[in-house]
Symmetry: C2
Subunit: 357 residues, 2 copies
Amino acid sequence: MNTYQLQVVENTNKKEKPVKDQVPFGTTFTDHMYVLEYETEKGWYDPKIVPYGPISLDPAAMIFHYGQTVFEGMKAYHTEDGRVLLFRPEKNFERLNLSSERLSIPALDEKLALEHLTALIKLEKDWVPKTPGTSLYIRPYIISTDANLAVGPSQTYKYMVILSPVGSYFPGGLQPVVIHVEDKFTRAVKGGTGMAKTAGNYSSGYQAQANAKKEGNADVLWLDGVEKKYIEEVGSMNIFFKINGEVITPELNGSILKGITRMSIIELLDTWGIKVTEKRMSIDELYEAYDAGHVEEVFGTGTAAVISPVGELNWKGKKMIVNNHEIGELSQKIYDTITGIQTGKIEDTLGWTVEVK
Amino acid sequence: MNTYQLQVVENTNKKEKPVKDQVPFGTTFTDHMYVLEYETEKGWYDPKIVPYGPISLDPAAMIFHYGQTVFEGMKAYHTEDGRVLLFRPEKNFERLNLSSERLSIPALDEKLALEHLTALIKLEKDWVPKTPGTSLYIRPYIISTDANLAVGPSQTYKYMVILSPVGSYFPGGLQPVVIHVEDKFTRAVKGGTGMAKTAGNYSSGYQAQANAKKEGNADVLWLDGVEKKYIEEVGSMNIFFKINGEVITPELNGSILKGITRMSIIELLDTWGIKVTEKRMSIDELYEAYDAGHVEEVFGTGTAAVISPVGELNWKGKKMIVNNHEIGELSQKIYDTITGIQTGKIEDTLGWTVEVK
Ligand SMILES: Cc1ncc(COP(=O)(O)O)c(C=O)c1O
Ligand SMILES: Cc1ncc(COP(=O)(O)O)c(C=O)c1O
């Protein structure tokens, strides 16, 4: 048997779809999941679509002890004319392999991963919600499964994909958020795992996020781990600034994630004749521009919300109110264009969408 | 029912013990494991000793996605007169709670955790190997189990303990190792999770360790994440130097692990009238001392090996040969004393051991 022949075991006990398209993010899952196994001798083998359900692991499985794991996050969107679109999914698999390299995890065949993902989404087509702003969240991930407490790369892995219908991030339209600039805790540093989408990068931010929330902030903006001076990114978003007419975003320096929304915005703005400056920018520089009245827009970018306008930025007690807590013109235009392309309302001249058929 | 009443479900299908006491580290497990559950509303509840076996988790369980997890490592030793001793186990539970705090995991009741651990070891007494140098490795760990993809602390956790008989780290006596000083990759940084025993800290080192091994090194010595200048620690060991008669170890700065062997050596040397200097020490300083002929001994310290003499240290192509690749007098004396106390051969005047009875 071809070790790459996709097997499908259909779920005969299907769940009810959520009545409202506003289930809390990441808590409802579809009827099926995808599983692919890895062993050093065989490579990746035995791809399967099976009923969504618990997985059984040895208590010594490496994922529980040494965190050798990577993941991705993307979405499938329903168009008004009944098609289902993915947004640049090949970029997610490319990044998954980049993350895997950093974590010493064997690479996936990106083309095949996309093919099998498409097969899974096709089977779960009815789970892609239709209300504007909603989507089917897609979570591919790889876990290390050797039952072995010796610190070092696993010889066996499981690559899985689970799907979760999600409501609109901003049910009432774009809402500017309040962000705390973190100057104590560190998310990532040069030489670390910041540019990889790996589990440990997320839980390491919980304390900072909890502290920030206590003071009324929605999330934290991370500064670099070396000098606590240069702007990196927000929780699960890259960040952009419009300062005195110039659009700026922190450069990819190895410690921030190479966001696919970030990349798409840079490319989109290029087609609009707007050059995005990718550079190292200090938080002082930002506050100086603010004091001079030059900070026009600030927005986070990521798969979850596409654009999340920042209305307020708190750094060491200094409050920066951006655009009077209102959504900026450019932020809104980018949001409308990208969500328009994602949902088929705007023609996809950039070739970003992949139809599931 | 008292939610803290320990239940024991005995394994009726016991495994063969390994014939040789030289099984590879971390691959053989005993007949039973300990499990304790947590829910926000209930706190920790339902402690159980059950047959060792697979655990079943939702594929969306947070441990697979965001790395909210902590662990410990300690050992039980057989004495010649048939007793089983633990070495400062209360320090491990103290550190587990410290790690948990950093990862936003609820604290365990340290006293009860030790009580239940003792009950588990008692049941598995026959699994504690008897050959000199062998021991029963103990792995307590906590994993986050909410089936929820929203980034943030879990509301449910599992605390578990598994046990693994391990052979001698140095079957032929102490063997000096070759260590590579890592100047590209980073393990930890100020404000990060370096002082916590959490999964992500380990897999993030695999690439550096693999590169080092290719060049004949056993492990890497990490430098600080900010300046790549100050000495931190080795893979799973703290590090000590004897330079011109002075014993030095890097100070606890938030990015290195507070090793229990490290702590014990500082206390032991104090009883010998030797003061250990805990300070920030740069790698240049070390090499300067070496060039001046002052580096007398270098050794790693940790539960796995107690003392692991370093015979060679490679930094940017500069080779430091320590004590002619031989074990130093102080290293050997510390090793003999601590392993002597652990195995009951030397009187435990410091009150470090806890008998399992
Ligand atoms: C740390 C981090 N930064 C940035 C992003 C944004 O990336 P993308 O635009 O690919 O969703 C994400 C989310 O995926 C993230 O987790
Ligand atoms: C990163 C790290 N440093 C140091 C140590 C040594 O600590 P201990 O002496 O408590 O075993 C360990 C092992 O536990 C470790 O994982």
